[in-house]
Amino acid sequence: MDELLKSVEERLDRLKAATDTIQPSAGFDDRVMAAIIQRTFVDWRLRLWPVGRYALVASVILVAITTLFAVDRASRADELAAVTYGTVEQEW
C-alpha cells in the first residue's frame, strides 16, 4: 500500500472515530413525531377538501332546486286561490 493510500485510510479512520459520537440534537425524535402527526392531519384535510367541495356544490344545487320547487308550488297555490276567488258569486 503506498503512502498516500495509507494516509487516506488513516484519515478515514480518524474521521470515523471523531464522528462516531454524533447524536441527534435534544428532542429530535419528538420533533419528528410532531411533524408526522402534523403532516398526516394536513393530508387528511387535503383529502377531505375535494369531497367537501363536491358536497358544497351538491348542497347549493339541492337548495336551488328546492327553492324553485317551493316557488313553483306557491305560485300554483296562488293561481288556484285566484281561480277559486274568481268563481265566488255574490248575491245582493
Binding site: T19, F28, A35, D43
Partner: protein, 198 residues
C-alpha cells in the same frame, strides 16, 4: 428522550444485524401498517441516532442531516401506511436507503448554510465531544467535496458505517460491482486531493 432510552436505542443500532433488534423493528412496522402511529415512534427512537449519523457523514452537516432524516421519516411513515413497504428488504436497510438517497439529493442541491450552531452543542451537554464531531464533519465536507455524491455515500457506508458491499448495493439500488467501482474511484479522488493539498 431520556438517556436510558437513548442508550438502549444505541445498543440496538450498533448491532443492526442482531435478530432481536431487527425483529422488533419489523414488528413495529407491522403495527404502523395496522394504523398504530405510536409504533412509528418506537422505530424513530431505535433508528434516529444511526440514521442522523449516516446522513451527517454523507452531507457533512448535522443540522442539514437532521432535516434530511426528518423528511425521510415522514416519507417512510406515509409509505408504510399506504402499504408501499413490501418487506423485501429489512426495515433498517429500507430506511437507510431513503436517507441515503435524500442525503445525495441534499448534496446536489446544497445551499450553503451555517453548520451545527453553538446552541446545539450546549444542548448536547457534551460540548467538547460535539465540537470534535463538528470539526470532523467540516473536515469531511471539505475533503470529500471532490467526490461525486454517490461515491461519497458509498465510501461513508463502507468505511465509516462498516457495511458490506452487498448491503451498500441494496441501499443504493445498484450492483455490487458498481459499489466496488465507486469505492475505488472515491479512494483515487481522495488520494489525489491529499497529493494536491500537499
Amino acid at each position: 428522550m431520556d438517556m436510558t432510552h437513548r442508550l438502549v436505542a444505541d445498543q440496538v443500532c450498533t448491532s443492526p444485524g442482531s435478530f432481536e433488534s431487527l425483529a422488533t423493528l419489523e414488528n413495529a412496522a407491522l403495527r404502523v401498517q395496522q394504523g398504530d402511529i405510536q409504533a412509528f415512534g418506537d422505530i424513530v427512537r431505535q433508528t434516529s441516532a444511526q440514521l442522523v449519523r449516516v446522513a451527517a457523514r454523507v452531507i457533512g452537516d448535522l443540522a442539514e442531516a437532521e432535516d434530511v432524516v426528518q423528511e425521510s421519516y415522514i416519507n417512510a411513515y406515509q409509505a408504510l401506511t399506504q402499504g408501499q413497504f413490501d418487506a423485501r428488504a429489512h426495515l433498517l436497510t429500507w430506511l437507510r436507503r431513503i436517507v441515503t438517497n435524500r442525503a445525495i439529493d441534499a448534496i446536489r442541491s446544497r445551499r450553503r448554510r451555517p453548520s451545527l450552531d453553538d446552541s446545539k452543542i450546549e444542548a448536547g451537554g457534551e460540548g467538547a465531544v460535539y465540537a470534535e464531531s463538528r470539526m470532523a464533519l467540516i473536515e469531511m465536507q471539505d475533503w470529500m467535496n471532490a467526490l461525486v455524491p454517490e461515491q461519497r455515500a458509498a465510501l461513508v457506508l463502507s468505511v465509516l458505517e462498516g457495511l458490506s458491499n452487498a448491503e451498500i448495493a441494496q441501499i443504493m439500488g445498484s450492483s455490487e460491482g458498481a459499489v466496488e467501482q465507486r469505492l475505488v474511484r472515491a479512494r483515487v479522488a481522495l488520494r489525489q486531493r491529499i497529493q494536491k493539498d500537499g
